[in-house]
C-alpha cells in the first residue's frame, strides 16, 4: 500500500509528445511526400483513364476511412452508409439543379446536409447495439431510398434526375476539378481520422475500441464520442455521394442508395485491416487490383469477394496490414500512444 501511496505524490507532468516516437519517423514523411507529389501532378502526366481510376480510388478510400473509424474504433458496424452517399447525391441534384449553385460547391454542402440528417437517425440507432445496429442502419437507408423513389415530382422517382448544369463545364475542366475535389476529400478523410485519433476524442475512441464498459467506467462519454464519429462518417459519405454523381451525372435512387456502396467498403476495410489508418489504404489498393483481375467475371467476382471476406475474417481478422505488422510493426500513421514511464514500473509488458 505504501508504494501505491507514493505514486499519488507529485507526478511528472504529461510529456508534450505522448506518441511513440522511434527512429524511423522520417520514412512515413518521405513516403507521404512522394505519394502527394505524384497524385497532385497526375493530371499533367497521366491519361484520362488513369485519372478516372484515381478519382474512383479517392472516393472509395474516403468511404473506407470513414467506415473504419465507425466500425474499427467506435464499434458501430454500419451497413447503411449508402444512405448518406445517396443523400449527398440528391443534395447535388437539389443545390445544383433546383437552386442553381455551382455543382462543385455542393460537395461541402452535401456533407453538411448528410450530417444534419444523421443526427435524428443517430437518436434511433444508438438505442441498438451490435448486429441490431447494423441491420437498423440498413433499414434507414432503405427507408430513404423508398421515400426518394416515391417522390416522382421533385426528385424524379425511380428514374432519378440528371444534373444538367454540369454541361456548363468543358469536359476536361470538369474531370480535373472532380479529380482535385476527390484528392482533397481523400486527404480530409485520411488526415481527419488521423488528427481525430490523436485528439482527446481519439483517446476516448481507442478506449472504447478496447473495452466500452471500461471506458465508460473511467469517465469516457461513450455516447457523445460515438455520435461525433457517426456524424463525421456521414459527412464524408455525403460529400463522396455528391462527388460521385458529379462524375456520373445521372442520379437514380437504386444506384445512389445501393447496398453495394456498403459492401465494397466493408470488403476494403476487412482485407486491408480494420482498426488502423493504413488498413483501408492498403485495402483500397488491393480492391482495385482484385477488381481488375476479376474484370468481366460479373457474378464470379462478387462471389469471390464474399469468399475472401469470410476467409480473411477466419484466418486473418486484422487484415493484410495486420499480417504484415504481426512481427515488426512499422506504423505509417502514429496513433498509438506511448505508455507514460510511471506505468511501466513493474515491467509487466503492458
Amino acid at each position: 500500500m505504501s508504494e501505491n501511496r507514493s505514486e499519488i505524490e507529485p507526478r511528472p507532468p504529461m510529456t508534450a509528445a505522448p506518441y511513440a516516437r522511434e527512429a524511423h519517423v522520417a520514412l512515413p514523411l518521405v513516403l507521404l511526400g512522394a505519394v502527394l507529389v505524384a497524385l497532385v501532378s497526375l493530371p499533367f502526366w497521366g491519361d484520362g483513364s488513369l485519372q478516372r481510376t484515381a478519382l474512383e480510388f479517392f472516393y472509395f478510400l474516403a468511404l473506407a476511412q470513414a467506415w473504419n473509424l465507425m466500425a474499427g474504433y467506435a464499434g458501430m458496424m454500419s451497413i447503411g452508409q449508402q444512405a448518406f452517399v445517396g443523400i449527398g447525391a440528391y443534395s447535388l441534384v437539389v443545390f445544383a439543379e433546383d437552386l442553381g449553385l455551382n455543382p462543385f460547391l455542393t460537395i461541402p454542402l452535401a456533407a453538411v446536409v448528410a450530417m444534419i440528417l444523421a443526427l435524428p437517425s443517430s437518436w434511433l440507432l444508438f438505442r441498438l447495439k451490435g448486429a441490431y445496429f447494423a441491420v437498423a442502419t440498413w433499414v434507414i437507408a432503405e427507408t430513404v431510398r423508398l421515400a426518394v423513389n416515391a417522390n416522382i415530382d421533385w426528385l424524379g422517382g425511380g428514374r432519378g434526375r440528371t444534373v444538367r448544369s454540369l454541361g456548363q463545364f468543358d469536359r476536361h475542366l470538369r474531370e480535373d476539378l472532380g479529380y482535385y475535389a476527390g484528392l482533397a476529400l481523400a486527404l480530409i478523410a485520411v488526415f481527419g481520422v488521423f488528427f481525430l485519433l490523436r485528439s482527446k476524442t481519439g483517446l476516448a475512441l481507442q478506449a472504447i475500441r478496447d473495452t466500452e464498459n471500461g471506458a465508460r467506467a473511467v469517465g469516457v462519454e461513450t455516447r457523445r464520442t460515438k455520435r461525433i464519429v457517426y456524424l463525421f462518417a456521414a459527412a464524408i459519405a455525403g460529400a463522396t455521394g455528391a462527388l460521385i454523381y458529379i462524375v456520373q451525372i445521372n442520379v437514380r435512387p437504386d444506384a445512389a442508395f445501393s447496398i453495394n456502396w456498403a459492401a465494397y467498403v466493408i470488403f476494403i476495410v476487412v482485407i486491408g485491416g480494420i482498426g488502423t489508418i493504413e488498413g483501408p489504404i492498403l485495402g483500397t489498393i488491393l480492391f482495385f487490383v482484385l477488381r481488375d483481375l476479376l474484370e468481366g467475371l460479373e457474378a464470379w467476382s462478387m462471389l469471390i469477394f464474399g469468399l475472401i471476406a469470410i476467409v480473411m475474417m477466419l484466418f486473418a481478422p486484422k487484415g493484410i496490414w495486420g499480417v504484415m505488422n504481426a512481427h515488426r510493426p512499422v506504423p505509417l500513421f502514429r496513433t498509438a500512444r506511448k505508455l507514460p514511464a510511471r506505468f511501466k514500473a513493474d515491467e509487466g509488458e503492458a
Binding site: 434511433l124 451490435g130 441490431y132 437498423a136 432503405e142 469477394f305 464474399g306 471476406a309
Partner: protein, 290 residues
C-alpha cells in the same frame, strides 16, 4: 368491406413475415448475433426445393422431407465449422462473415440458376380461395401459411419450455459461461440452434416459393422483413414474432392500399416508429447485455 379485406390480407401477409422472423429470432435469442445471410438462406432453400422437384419429381411440399434434414445439416455445419471459430472476438466477425456469405449465396444462385424469376408449382392449392362473405375472398394458401406458423410457434415454445434440450438452449442464451459450468457444451448448442433455424428456414423457403415467384437477389429484402418483425415484436420472444409479423403485414397492406409506392415504406416507418417509442420491441424477452 375493403377495409376488412385489407386488414385480413395484412394479417395473412404477416403470417409469412413472422415465418421469416422466426428463424432469425431463434438464432438471435441464443447466439445474440444476426445472421445477415438469413434472407439469402431462405432463397437458397427455395432453390434447393426447386432442384428437388426437378430431379426427384416431388411436389414442393413433399421436397421438405429431403430439405428439412439437409438444411439442418447445412446450418449445423455453418455454425460449428465457421461461426464458432470467431465467438471470442465479439459479434463483428460473425456479422462480416454472414455478410460475405450473403454475397456468396446470391451470386452462386445467379450462376447456377440464372437471374430469371422462377416459381414452385404445388398445384391447385396455390390459387384456391375461401369466400367468407360476398366480395370477401381470402387465399387458401396464405391461410395455411398462418396455420403452419402457429404450429411452428407452439412447437418451438413447447420445445424451449418443456424439454431438457430446450432448457439447455435457454441456459446458454441467459449465460453461456455458467451454462458451460453446468456441463452444457455451448458450441454444440449453438450448432443445434443454427441447425434448427435452418430447418425452419427450409419450411419458410418452400412456402415463399409457392406463394410468389423468386430470383437469386430476393434475400436482402427478406432479411429486412425478418429483422423488422423482431424489432417490432421484441428480441428473443417467440410470441413477439407473431405480433411483429402481424403488425408489419398490416402496416404494409394499409400503406399499399393508400398508394402502391407506400407498401414497403409503411412497413419501414412502422418499424422505426416502434424503435423510437419502445426500443426493445413490444414483448422483449432477452435483455441486451452490455
Amino acid at each position: 368491406m375493403i377495409a376488412i379485406s385489407t386488414a385480413l390480407n395484412g394479417i395473412l401477409l404477416g403470417g409469412l413475415y413472422a415465418l421469416y422472423g422466426l428463424g432469425l429470432s431463434l438464432t438471435f435469442g441464443i447466439m445474440r448475433t444476426v445472421n445477415l445471410a438469413h434472407g439469402d438462406v431462405i432463397v437458397l432453400a427455395t432453390y434447393l426445393s426447386l432442384l428437388t422437384t426437378q430431379i426427384l419429381g416431388f411436389t414442393p411440399l413433399m421436397s421438405l422431407v429431403v430439405l428439412v434434414p439437409v438444411m439442418f445439416c447445412i446450418g449445423y455445419g455453418l455454425q460449428r465449422l465457421v461461426l464458432n471459430r470467431t465467438l471470442k472476438d465479439g459479434m463483428m466477425p460473425a456479422v462480416i462473415i454472414t455478410f460475405g456469405l450473403s454475397f456468396v449465396i446470391q451470386n452462386g444462385l445467379l450462376l447456377g440458376f440464372s437471374a430469371d424469376r422462377q416459381v414452385l408449382r404445388q398445384g391447385a392449392v396455390e390459387t384456391m380461395g375461401v369466400t367468407l362473405a360476398p366480395g370477401l375472398t381470402l387465399g387458401l394458401f396464405p391461410i395455411l401459411t398462418l396455420g403452419v406458423l402457429l404450429v411452428l410457434i407452439f412447437a418451438l415454445q413447447a420445445f424451449m419450455g418443456r424439454t431438457l434440450l430446450g432448457r439447455a438452449f435457454r441456459a446458454t442464451s441467459d449465460d453461456p459461461n455458467t451454462a458451460e459450468l453446468m456441463g452444457i457444451d455451448g458450441r454444440k448448442i449453438y450448432g443445434l440452434a443454427m441447425g434448427l433455424a435452418f430447418a425452419i428456414i427450409a419450411v419458410t423457403g418452400v412456402i415463399m416459393g409457392i406463394r410468389s415467384n423468386f430470383s437469386p437477389f430476393d434475400g436482402p429484402a427478406r432479411l429486412i422483413f425478418a429483422f423488422e418483425v423482431i424489432i417490432i415484436g421484441g428480441m428473443g420472444s417467440i410470441y413477439g414474432v407473431l405480433a411483429g409479423g402481424l403488425i408489419l403485414g398490416l402496416a404494409q397492406t394499409i400503406g399499399g392500399a393508400i398508394s402502391p409506392t407506400y407498401f414497403q415504406l409503411a412497413g419501414h416507418l412502422a418499424t422505426l416508429g416502434i424503435l423510437a417509442v419502445r426500443p426493445s420491441g413490444l414483448f422483449p424477452e432477452t435483455i441486451e447485455k452490455g
